[in-house]
Symmetry: C2
Subunit: 370 residues, 2 copies
């Protein structure tokens, strides 16, 4: 039911083009994956996601387990039916939220006790319960339960945490029962290159359908993150998809792909959209700026999304200043379209061994800064 075909590796950068076959369709990589935390990509319909070429979307195990509850999603026929998205879906393990949201928590070998961010109730999550929840949700790709260690944790903290994450991966794999879901393991190791390499090698020893890199984009600088990627990626299986978790500015996305990452996700494009920020082929646009009050041109003349085809910057500014929901809707669609078109552009360039041109365009004519 699952197959990853590595179609081409850019001779000059190591960027990869592939096809990942899943029960709900083929994912052409490299790909940016929109995030639908609570079973909806915020302010965007699934029709629009299809229109802009989204190939796979994410949903969050932690949030959906608290509300509406994974049993309800299972009874609904699974996430695809519940949220009306027939393409591939990936759920995270809940680990990231358990470790990043507010509230007390206690980690043991068995799992993690923590408090719900909604009502403070006590919850216990383990590799087994995470897999059970993810089987209820029914995504195509599910993630092993891991600890995402706090940013800049010490070596003394990271080593046992990373070792436990490896043991939790074995337990996640053992707990899995559904054949129509692909389990990905997650490489951890903080900002220590040797620990990352160790974690990558140990994770690769476990036969899985895909491998992820977690614990990045949690506060480190971009050069630090890229150094870790460069150290880690050579030790990850070549013929399996590689997923860099929670990373998604245009710069991170292109830099990651050029180093050999196949999949990335982030709330960044929809979150900044709700704050009036748009990614464009001429850099970031803050739509609230007074200079756009009489600018009747589109947000991005190079963009084919419904926002740019139908609305002016002056109108988008008016919507944002007026607090209108349509502002979030139109800017979210636009930003997701931007990253999906960037995915396509990278894929084409990879086949021509010229993915570097996308990086040059990003920092050149598009005006993004490293």
């Amino acid at each position: 039911m699952f197959k990853f075909v590595l179609e081409h590796v850019d001779k000059n950068t190591g960027a990869r083009a592939g096809s990942f076959y899943t029960p709900h369709g083929v994912i052409k990589t490299p790909i940016f994956m929109p995030v639908g935390t609570q079973a909806t990509v915020k302010a965007v319909t699934t029709d629009w996601l299809r229109d802009i070429g989204a190939q796979i979307i994410l949903a969050n195990t932690y949030h959906l387990n608290l509300r509406p509850g994974s049993e309800i999603v299972r009874e609904a026929g699974g996430l695809h039916k519940f949220m009306n998205w027939q393409g591939p879906i990936l759920t995270d393990s809940g680990g990231f939220q358990v470790f990043s949201l507010r509230g007390m928590r206690k980690i043991s070998e068995e799992g993690v006790s923590f408090q719900s961010h909604l009502d403070g109730s006590k919850i216990f999550m383990s590799p087994e319960s995470s897999i059970k929840i993810q089987e209820n949700l029914g995504a195509d790709i599910i993630m092993a339960f891991d600890e995402c260690a706090p940013a800049r944790s010490s070596r003394d903290y990271i080593v046992p945490s990373m070792e436990r994450t490896l043991r939790w991966l074995e337990r996640s794999k053992a707990a899995k029962t559904r054949e129509d879901q692909a389990l990905f393991g997650i490489v951890q190791g903080g900002l220590f290159e040797d620990l990352r390499i160790y974690s990558a090698k140990k994770t690769a020893e476990i036969d899985l359908l895909g491998y992820a890199i977690g614990g990045l984009s949690v506060g480190e600088t971009r050069p630090e993150m890229l150094a870790i990627l460069e150290a880690t990626l050579p030790h990850m299986p070549e013929y399996k998809p590689r997923y860099l978790m929670g990373v998604g500015t245009p710069q991170d996305f292109v830099e990651g792909v050029l180093r050999g990452v196949d999949m990335m996700d982030c709330v960044h494009p929809t979150r900044i959209a709700r704050h009036g920020l748009a990614m464009t082929s001429k850099g970031m646009v803050s739509i609230k700026r007074a200079e756009y009050s009489r600018d009747f041109t589109s947000l991005d003349p190079d963009c084919d999304c419904m926002t740019c085809q139908n609305y002016s910057k002056a109108y988008l500014r008016h919507l944002y200043k007026s607090g209108e929901i349509l502002s979030s809707m139109l800017l979210s669609v636009h930003n997701l379209n931007f990253l999906l078109k960037l995915s396509n552009e990278l894929r084409e360039a990879i086949f021509e061994d010229d993915s570097i041109r996308v990086l040059k365009r990003l920092y050149g004519e598009m005006g993004y800064e490293f």
Copy 2:
């Protein structure tokens, strides 16, 4: 450029079916008109409005004059282009907001001084300035500047106010310069039947392309409102469209149409949508109710809107409880579709002299209460 054809009057109720020709298309009446206060029907795209058969939408002169400013809309090419809606548009005069929003105001023969609800700045509005703003906005139908008197005003208050509104109508008409806009006058008179009749007759003496009834649905009971309608409508021109302003529950809409109203508007359907309330063929549904947590059926089995075709009550409840924008989007589309389908149903029934069946269905199988 404008023509109203009265196609049929229900022999049993007086309900009317007609066609109103405007520069941006024909409006088949009776019709409910969605409200786009700030040049957007909240949480709904203009594509969706087209899909659900919206024929004409409203925008608010007061709000658009404050932000972004009518000059900017004029420079954008008018409201149609600014907000990407190619069908007919109606703008109110600003009078209702001037008299209903918070802040000090001073009424004189010349016009009204008031404070902006946005920044407290002093603004003066007169029949001439209202028409000028509405010409900048460029809607197909524009409204005369009137005073919407406070609910349950005394006869002593209403008489001079109503007389001034008649003088303001003459000035509104004299100020108008554009040929491609139809000016409607507004009947006032509070809850006094004789004053309403007087206002209707005096307003009808002024040759206009349409006539509206204002100052209702501002706090009076439904029987009080309907009594005023019944007293007023016989004195309004028969062969011109009749518009009941700001009225829009399903009950008000059907009751109004059966008494001979052709057009109505209200923020009600989209406002209650944002509070999780849906109009359905089985009455009002409050989507937050626990009973829907495992209800995987659609909101309304009789509904063909995108919400009912693709999503379950359980999912809609989840979205609402999670505070997701998609909740407002999906419920707003549904509620507008409900009133537009009710418009169609009324129109068909009118041609069969059986509009009473829609009223019976509303209070019978649909379960709405008078």
